[in-house]
């Protein structure tokens, strides 16, 4: 692949990422309308792939209650401009609520109050994750509690 083809390929990837993010953003906005409530998910999580490493992109935050720092590759979209996207970090955890530093599917994704603004140029791919994982509930039956 020559330099020109490579640039073209990257540009196409960016266009794809942007158009998918736009669809996600619009779907989330529609979900807030009374007509679509309960039909569309209000939060659609996703993983972004870095153009540089072709690996999931990680951002760092601090959990509000425990004040422990964490990193995550799971995000949801807050807003979108022509060149940037405003992301909210989603904290991955296991069934017991313990934080997981993972790129695998966790049991739950919790919306945090941490946000990050990134340039669309930095990403070559996007992978949507099941919205069911967001604030997923679990009941513990039996045990000492």
């Amino acid at each position: 692949m020559n330099e020109e083809q490579k640039t073209m390929k990257e540009d196409e990837s960016v266009c794809d990422v942007k158009s998918i993010l736009k669809t996600i953003f619009e779907t989330q906005n529609k979900a807030k309308l009374p007509a679509f409530q309960g039909i569309f998910p209000e939060t659609i999580p996703f993983i972004l792939y870095s153009s540089e490493t072709i690996e999931p992109f990680f951002a760092y935050g601090i959990a509000p209650k425990s004040l422990v720092s964490f990193r995550t590759c799971f995000f949801c979209i807050d807003s979108l401009t022509s060149s940037c996207v405003h992301l909210t970090l989603l904290l991955p955890s296991d069934v017991e609520g313990s934080y997981l530093d993972t790129t695998c599917m966790p049991f739950r994704l919790k919306k945090m109050n941490c946000t990050v603004i990134v340039s669309l140029q930095d990403f070559c791919g996007i992978q949507c994750v099941s919205p069911k994982l967001v604030n997923r509930k679990v009941i513990i039956s039996g045990g000492k509690c």
Binding site: V95, V138, I139, I140, S141, G142
Partner: protein, 404 residues
């Protein structure tokens, strides 16, 4: 090839242990089942040497399956069932093949709750009862029940609390009768008996009655009556035992039950034993293990011997109090994971921990005995200690459930 054919089985519990016992005794085991899931998970049944998927309610199909087995050169030594409502069918097939000393007639009367009540009518162990059939006057029946509430309404083939409800007034009675008539043609209405409930595991060989185990039952009323605890009594007061033995002998005499095993659920009401129900088989679930842990007797194995016309070995090798604490779910949803099983089984006095559902199974509060999701078995020389050990250990078990 000496073969034992089993009609129906659950994946675990007494009925499954019977298949394992037959294998241990050196028989080729054949399971006739109507559960397609068993077929799909064939590797989960290594003790079943041949599995045949068939309609268990069709006597002709069962018979032709057995004919096919014989044509293959298998020598059928017994046809057995440890699950309702096939115990009678299995005994009938065995009789037709001329391979058993167990008579199917008493088994049929035990399986059908209305036949049981009619047989024991006017006997002191029998509570007040009435039956109602399709086409009869519901109003007339309701009028006759004035002053008799609360009552128990059940279907004649009810098992494992599946079709048993408590009604407190005429409206509830009418509703439950109509509900059960959708499933069958007759409904049984019985007096509600209040008092401690016991379960007797019994073996009869050549007319001699052996009370193998006396168990206290802990019953919890959820939507239905569910037994959540069994306590096998390691020692029993001799006068109390004699009283039980005499009552059980009287009942079995009425049934003309000469060979086989059965269990009776009875309540002690004002010093009088009252029969809740009798079933022509060992109790399901953990019962075989409870008796094995308490007395060193594998009851299903000894029952197989009775069906083969061999003398069972019912000599107790140990004498311990055993408590089986059953685990149920308070919540409804999909099972994500179970924790604490290993921790629980390593606690002192714990003989066995069994968790039934797999990940992904939908759990709910119990509607029948089949909705108990596991048990913890503890034994001791002391009754109270066995209960405490099992209940405390069960607290280690947690079900993680995702709401639907």
């Amino acid at each position: 090839m000496k073969t034992i054919v089993f009609i129906g089985s659950n994946k675990s519990g007494s009925s499954r242990e019977a298949i394992k016992a037959a294998e241990r005794l050196g028989f080729f085991t054949v399971l006739l089942t109507d559960r397609e899931l068993f077929f799909e998970n064939r590797l989960d049944f290594p003790d079943v040497h041949q599995m045949i998927l068939t309609d268990l309610t069709n006597y002709g199909l069962l018979k032709s399956s057995i004919d096919d087995l014989q044509a293959q050169g298998k020598v059928i030594e017994a046809v057995l069932s440890f699950v309702d409502p096939y115990v009678h069918v299995a005994a009938k097939l065995s009789k037709e093949l001329g391979v058993t000393v167990v008579s199917p007639e008493p088994i049929l009367k035990m399986e059908d709750k209305i036949l049981t009540r009619e047989l024991l009518k006017d006997h002191p162990v029998s509570p007040y009862f009435a039956k109602f059939g399709k086409g009869e006057s519901l109003q007339m029946l309701i009028d006759k029940q004035v002053g008799k509430y609360p009552l128990i309404v059940k279907t004649p083939v009810s098992a494992g609390s599946k079709d048993v409800v408590l009604v407190k007034d005429s409206q509830q009675l009418a509703r439950s009768i109509n509900m059960f008539l959708e499933k069958g043609t007759e409904v049984l209405i019985e007096e509600y008996l209040d008092g401690p409930q016991y379960l007797f595991e019994v073996c009869v060989f050549n007319g001699k009655v052996h009370i193998i185990g006396v168990l206290e039952q802990k019953i919890t009323l959820f939507e239905r009556f569910i037994v959540t605890g069994y306590c096998l009594l390691g020692e029993i007061d001799s006068a109390f035992y004699s009283n039980i033995h005499e009552t059980v002998c009287m009942i079995l005499e009425k049934f003309n039950f000469k060979n086989g095993s059965c269990h009776l659920e009875m309540r002690l009401v004002n010093h009088q034993w009252k029969l809740i129900e009798i079933n022509p088989r060992i109790s399901g679930g953990a019962m075989n293990r409870i008796i094995e842990v308490g007395f060193g007797i594998n009851l299903v194995e000894e029952t197989i011997k009775i069906f083969l016309g061999l003398e069972p070995n019912l000599k107790k090798k140990t004498n311990r109090f055993v408590y089986a604490h059953y685990i149920t779910s308070e919540a409804t949803g999909t099972l994500i994971k179970v924790t604490g099983k290993k921790r629980c089984s390593q606690l002192p006095g714990i003989d066995e921990v069994f968790i039934k559902p797999k990940k992904g199974k939908i759990l709910h509060p119990p509607l029948s005995m089949g909705d108990r999701y596991g048990y913890v078995l503890a034994s001791s020389n002391n009754k109270e200690e066995s209960i405490r050990l099992a209940k405390d250990a069960a607290k280690e078990i947690s079900f993680y459930i995702e709401p639907l």
